[in-house]
């Protein structure tokens, strides 16, 4: 196959970065066509792989001068199509900017480049009894830059919050080419919280070059309990009782039957038989505090009519509980050739009602749905199963997903708890915000990016949808390297 002549923009781009940084072969472009939301695919003009912050700044300034769209990308684990390339634009792959620039143990901070993998931060400091709290399920490969762009969550948000609660400051190159520094090493600030505004910008403001993360002392002690229930409602009631008791668990999760079956098949997780739902509760903190809280939790669970309660007796049993939970999504992939993950939020007290509605629609439409969710913060993750080879199946799955999102908004919740709007949910943004609110968000975007070149097509509704194709599991997901949560 002969390669076409590089476009004039590509030729000028070659002068911006050292040789060898640009990938534009067909196989190379194909590898970046999708992120973890494989239903969307777009082929970019080229991939650029900078190695220094200066190269990233030069690239963004080039894009600004040329009006060339760019998408900054880490490991491509976005579940909302957030790092989907733009046709005719470039992908700035930040994986080689993976240096941890500074660790200050006294101040408990790490200053990292955007390509540093989430779990690498904890790995670098755990010998000192510290950790980086946000723990998205893809933490073994997702990058801090992506976490910052999409304000990533995880299983411990109820107590510890999201990525934005752990970013103290950052240096970024904005889409205008301006290099800014927001916040700093202190946990306190003076003036408007620009750092807070930047986190969760979905790549629409620019590219973070250096991020100052807060590190926390690792909890001394954990108490992790798995409780099985004959009905989902009982599991929901147990959550309500725990929340009402004044306990503040690190995590409260629920898995429904279909997800339990999948986890059993995939990672040989063992759950009490005859359960419609399993509740996972984790207490953590100083050993004396956990011991005191544990007595209260045990009493609450005993009163909640469980089929069985299984406390983890050691670290291995705790890890087994979490392995089953975190593998649930990829495990569901074994039940169905394709699935859509949703990420809506409902007020916690309406979880039971929300799940009854979802299950009712699922039966009515003949679309299977496995529910796994962060019960502590009302964040649902329905996995909508379909077979893309079957005519109309994807559309039915999307119809169910749409009903779920609208339900979340009607209940006073949100269309996304932690995956972001991205491409996937951009048409639902108007369900949450009025036209003049979206207009205001767009004006803020234009303040950072007047030409609209930074990750265009994400967050805001636009005419013309990107190609939606049937795709199956992400290759890394098939290999068990990443999972969706």
């Amino acid at each position: 196959m002969t390669r076409p002549e590089p476009s004039p923009a590509l030729r000028r781009l070659a002068a911006v970065v050292p040789a060898g940084r640009i990938l534009d072969g067909p196989a190379q472009l194909a590898a970046y066509e999708s992120d973890a939301l494989t239903a969307f695919q777009t082929r970019p003009l080229a991939i650029v792989v900078p190695e220094t912050q200066e190269e990233v700044v030069a690239l963004v300034r080039f894009c600004h001068a040329e009006g060339l769209p760019f998408v900054a990308r880490g490991s491509g684990t976005s579940l909302s199509g957030g790092s989907l390339p733009v046709a005719g634009g470039i992908v700035i792959a930040l994986n080689r900017l993976n240096r941890i620039r500074r660790i200050d143990l006294d101040q408990r901070i790490a200053v990292v480049e955007p390509g540093v993998v989430n779990s690498a931060v904890t790995a670098a400091v755990q010998a000192h009894g510290l950790h980086y709290a946000p723990d998205p399920s893809s933490q073994l490969i997702c990058t801090i830059g992506g976490n910052v762009a999409f304000n990533a969550g995880g299983a411990h948000c109820l107590k510890y919050g999201m990525t934005s609660n752990h970013v103290l400051g950052l240096k970024a190159v904005l889409a205008t080419g301006e290099v800014v520094e927001f916040g700093g090493a202190s946990r306190e600030q003076a003036g408007p919280d620009w750092t807070g505004l930047f986190v969760g910008n979905e790549g629409l403001f620019g590219v973070a070059l250096e991020i100052t993360l807060q590190l926390l002392p690792r909890a001394e002690c954990f108490h992790t309990v798995l409780a099985g229930y004959a009905t989902l409602e009982q599991a929901g009631d147990a959550v309500a009782a725990i929340v009402a008791s004044g306990l503040l668990p690190g995590a409260i999760e629920i898995m429904e039957k279909l997800a339990l079956e999948a986890a059993t098949a995939a990672v040989h997780a063992e759950y009490p038989p005859g359960c419609e739902a399993v509740l996972i509760v984790e207490l953590e903190g100083p050993r004396e505090v956990v011991a005191a809280d544990r007595a209260r939790l045990d009493a609450l669970l005993a009163a909640s009519r469980p089929v069985e309660v299984r406390p983890a007796r050691d670290a291995a049993e705790r890890l087994a509980i979490w392995k089953g939970r975190k593998s649930a999504f990829s495990a569901v992939g074994r039940l169905s050739p394709d699935f859509i993950v949703q990420d809506g939020v409902v007020p916690r007290r309406r979880l039971g009602e929300a799940l009854r509605l979802i299950n009712g629609w699922s039966r009515e439409m003949g679309v299977r749905c496995a529910n796994v969710f962060h019960a502590g913060d009302g964040n649902l993750h329905p996995l909508i199963l379909y077979d893309g080879r079957e005519p109309g199946a994807l559309l039915r799955a999307e119809e169910l997903a749409g009903r779920i999102l609208r339900m979340c908004v009607e209940m006073g919740g949100s269309i996304t708890g932690e995956h972001g709007v991205g491409v996937e949910k951009r048409d639902y943004l108007p369900a949450m915000f009025a036209a003049e609110e979206i207009a205001c968000l767009k004006r803020i975007r234009s303040a950072f990016d007047p030409k609209g070149i930074a990750n265009p097509g994400k967050m805001f509704p636009e005419k013309g949808a990107p190609a939606l194709v049937h795709a199956g599991l992400h290759p890394l997901e098939k290999a068990g390297v990443i999972s969706r949560e």
Binding site: V180, P217, N379
Partner: protein, 355 residues
């Protein structure tokens, strides 16, 4: 001083903003420098825009109007065993919730779970064109749209007028203990603060008076656990447990800023624990100045005996009372800050970011 408008609904608030070419929102006036702006600005008071509009203890959230006194919120949450862990300050002085957001200052309890910015979930604000806009959400987790609620923290009414806010709350610890730990000088204090921050105890608050050789620590935990934690800390660092009354008085003084000169300037400076000795040295160059370090060395507060704040400040901060620039210290001007200001307030109805 020009007229004061007192809207009684969010719609009236929006109309009040539209009614004048220059507008500044005011609350209880407990951080007076924030609203000390050009004389022709019409002052829009939130005093009649008060009250908790939604409170769902089972959701860990509440929503309140801008002028709701912090004191009222604390009482309502307390009845249900909940609290705002960042300890909104100046409750006794009548400060309002929107005032706390606009000032971006936190009380001693911010050490444990983070500051106001970490608990604000959503806002309704009136932009510079008088539009009532809602951003963020009303549930504890939400990633839709830009995080405008956080941007407003510390924005001093320069980007918009807050009409209503939604916050996350937490269950309140069942028992408290306060300790006084010795630290011979500011260098030893810095080391102690760092060690306390790295420890296993999940401390609630860590504060100290600049120049005093002690550090005050507060623990919040179940009754059955708290004495063992307090004992271990004292075994390691020395010190003593404060009596209940003495402890209450100390934390009240800290959160109410009663220690500041009532007729003098008062400012906040974000710091790191390693800045402590230099901060103490700088404070000592101003006769009569008093200062405290909070959040285990992450913030310094200074009060001068006169209304004139120090002309030169080595750190960037915010002046809460007194005469001098709103943001003392080294400037960090960015083009994008002006552009975002223009996006929210195109006609310059609110004071400039640097006014």
């Amino acid at each position: 001083m020009s007229a004061v408008l007192q809207p009684a609904s969010v719609e009236e608030l929006a109309a009040a903003v539209r009614s004048a070419p220059r507008v500044i929102a005011t609350g209880a006036g407990s951080k007076p420098r924030l609203s000390m702006v050009c004389a022709d600005a019409v002052r829009v008071s939130t005093s009649r825009l008060s009250g908790i509009t939604e409170y769902e203890p089972s959701e860990f959230t509440f929503t309140a109007l801008a002028g709701t006194p912090v004191r009222e919120i604390r009482a309502a949450l307390g009845e249900r065993g909940q609290y705002l862990p960042f300890d909104p300050v100046l409750a006794d002085a009548g400060s309002t919730l929107a005032g706390a957001v606009a000032a971006g200052i936190n009380g001693p309890g911010r050490w444990r779970y983070g500051g106001l910015r970490d608990f604000i979930l959503g806002v309704r604000l009136v932009d510079g064109e008088g539009r009532l806009l809602r951003f963020g959400g009303k549930v504890v987790k939400n990633a839709a749209g830009f995080d405008v609620p956080k941007l407003l923290v510390g924005s001093a009414g320069r980007l918009g007028v807050i009409a209503e806010m939604t916050f996350k709350v937490f269950p309140r610890p069942l028992a408290w203990r306060s300790l006084r730990l010795p630290a011979v000088d500011e260098i030893a204090k810095g080391r102690l603060l760092a060690e306390l921050g790295r420890g296993r105890w999940e401390l609630d608050a860590v504060e100290s008076v600049v120049g005093d050789p002690v550090v005050f620590v507060r623990l919040g935990a179940p009754e059955a656990a708290i004495d063992a934690l307090a004992k271990e800390i004292m075994d390691r660092f020395g010190g003593e447990i404060l009596g209940e009354k003495e402890a209450a008085a100390w934390w009240f003084d800290a959160a109410e800023f009663r220690w500041t000169h009532p007729a003098g300037a008062w400012a906040k400076f974000p710091l790191t624990p390693s800045d402590g000795p230099a901060f103490a040295t700088w404070v000592a160059t101003h006769p009569g100045a008093r200062a405290r370090i909070g959040a285990a060395g992450n913030v310094g507060y200074v009060s001068w005996p006169v209304m004139e704040a120090a002309a030169e400040c080595p750190w960037r901060g915010v002046l809460l009372r007194g005469n001098g620039p709103l943001w003392p210290g080294p400037r960090r001007l960015t083009a994008v800050a002006a552009a975002v200001k223009a996006a929210l307030d195109p006609v310059g109805r609110f004071p400039g970011l640097e006014d």
